[in-house]
Symmetry: C2
Amino acid sequence: MKAEIIAVGSELLTPDRVDTNSLFLTLELNRLGFVVTRKTVVGDRNDDVRDAFRDALARVEVVIASGGLGPTQDDLTREAVAQLLGRKLVRDDAVMSSIEERFRKLGRTMAEVNRRQAMVPEGADVLKNSRGTAPGLWIESNGRVVVLLPGVPTELKALFTERVGPRLARRAGATRLHYRELRTTGLTESEVEQHIAPIYTAYTSAETTILASPGEIQIHLRAWSDDSSAAESMLQEMTERITLALGEHLFTTRGESLEEVAGRELMMNHATIATAESCTGGLLAQRLTRIPGSSTYFLGGVVCYSNHLKSAWVDVPGALLEAKGAVSPEVARALAEGIRRRTGATLGAGITGIAGPGGGTPEKPVGLVHIALADATGSKERVLQFPGDRERIRWFASQIALDMVRQYFLYARQTSSSVDKRPGINAAAERNTSKS
Amino acid sequence: MKAEIIAVGSELLTPDRVDTNSLFLTLELNRLGFVVTRKTVVGDRNDDVRDAFRDALARVEVVIASGGLGPTQDDLTREAVAQLLGRKLVRDDAVMSSIEERFRKLGRTMAEVNRRQAMVPEGADVLKNSRGTAPGLWIESNGRVVVLLPGVPTELKALFTERVGPRLARRAGATRLHYRELRTTGLTESEVEQHIAPIYTAYTSAETTILASPGEIQIHLRAWSDDSSAAESMLQEMTERITLALGEHLFTTRGESLEEVAGRELMMNHATIATAESCTGGLLAQRLTRIPGSSTYFLGGVVCYSNHLKSAWVDVPGALLEAKGAVSPEVARALAEGIRRRTGATLGAGITGIAGPGGGTPEKPVGLVHIALADATGSKERVLQFPGDRERIRWFASQIALDMVRQYFLYARQTSSSVDKRPGINAAAERNTSKS
């Protein structure tokens, strides 16, 4: 079954705001078995709003709209839809008293304009909004359904989940969307495509999308089916074949972030980590600690921009800094080994590089980054030359560091059945693509 | 003059991707004097694409579209538009040879499918794409203009800037968009509204939008006018009146980030900073070092999650941690003072709190954060109870810390005409809203 999404609001036609409610709505609609065939954004003009609904209702059975339900003159979705469907707007006493109640509880006087929010098209079902004053509306007309929701994301999400989804489910067919999200790192988009095209093209009933984001390529598998177990086992089979094809580059089949995966490895292996960052300026520590519960494995980190602090905090020898320069494989290793020694962590990560835009030289250009990981047996280092601006270079570098943590445990498992007997960082060195 | 934007691509109708090209296009169109009145997203189906263009051309003079110009069967914008306008598709030899040339340079063989990209609707002007194989197309029909651009953002931006903008400028009227972006912190959306509504409502020829994001309220002022100097001086006057009304809460009138503003203050005052973070896990350091050139004022930072490291790295007394707990005003101050002492920075910032979701208690609930700033004369501390999830709490905390840095220099200027004579951190304490 088909659905369209309409977002109402002049602010969504400015360079400042994009309609993101439609991402949530699409996911929920897909799960219920509705394909979204069009999204429209219109401003706060009565004719534009009315025409958008008219056109959508001529094409599809379900139209979900967000925005334009507030109390001000600009909020005219109610009026435009009532007009289009030839319904009068009538005052709903239950809505009125719930708005009054809301203001009473907040200890405020209700402004006169809020009365507008109690006006609903005749025959509409009111969907109670527990988080705001604008109720949602469910309107049926000629076998079609129009759902009006407030534009505030938290209110829209709660209303859809609690009131709209269950009602739509009863109208939906048996077809549902089944879904997998795989993520890889260390491969380009075309390398991923090359590796997996022979696999996914063989599954004509699944849609495969390859999406590139900095330092990460995602593979989204979608199957629409009325046979849940057949669809799930097909996706499972695809996932397994892709996993084999991509090997160590695949880090999740469940849409997790790299810091989630690295964090889980640390936790499962009862290992701890500490970080010493220069050019990434705390980004690696910040990503590791984004994860709830990370305090069990993240001990601490330092951001040592100056050479003085590199020596003072993690014992990078002044002579080494002088001889090799702050951006060098040796200093990356010294950072990783030093922070590990200072904190007593299982692993130490060190990053040094030139994030730009200034500071590059012909020998050490902007984008050059050395990343090292140390354990009790020593350290390994990778050097990379990243493209892009400061933000991208820093992100890429943190991505590689997290991936080195993940791969550390991967190799430990491959070379030994017991984690306790893992042979240390150098055992993996020969299998590594590191240049140094 | 009015324009509509159409984005073509089934991936834009999934829960994964939102059309962001339209933000860039809207800004550029606005600058040229075009109002965007509708945005439409359609999938890769010939009828849907054709209908979207048909409807848009019935409403406005200029339609800008992105996507669907690639080499595969899915890419059918060219065909659908040619069909709608009753034009044949003809091979453009210049496009053909430029695609062949591109493949030759990359040392690859051109796939047969790429020939499709050389097919253009009769009478269309080809807009050479220097960054990819898909050229843009400029098609005029019945006094209307259709511009087709590739969906890849870098290619779309370059093509628009180099080839489309200048041509549209010749068609545009004298009306242009004039624009200011003000940002505040420390006020809620409704407080901002209350302070500035009496001002902006008096300027009926300017549009004012108030946008809330975590820890920050933005005020966007827009004026459409064919009289540049009148519009600019009106916006200048509005900006000055709003600046007065919001006082210290306003941190930029030029759309800068808080870390940019705090960084500029540090740089202009020849001051340096160092950070000691617990719950924010490096986010503050990371934000400070996002800014190019931050190495001139950011000395370094530590992320000390464990009590042991709080003592080892910034000399927080073990007895203090025991007596007051790690999340306490005293420990926040000790972190700020300790990191300042250890690094010799002008200012030290300390953050300790409970980012959740675990770790809260009735006395110290999730969202409780203590933030301290130290200088040579002592330290000041703020305690806040933030709403939301881990990510929001951490962001809010970093926002307050950056704002304390900004306000530090603000008060220094207010209390002394010379920065060198600034009276130190405690002079500002009585004017601060801090609870402790």
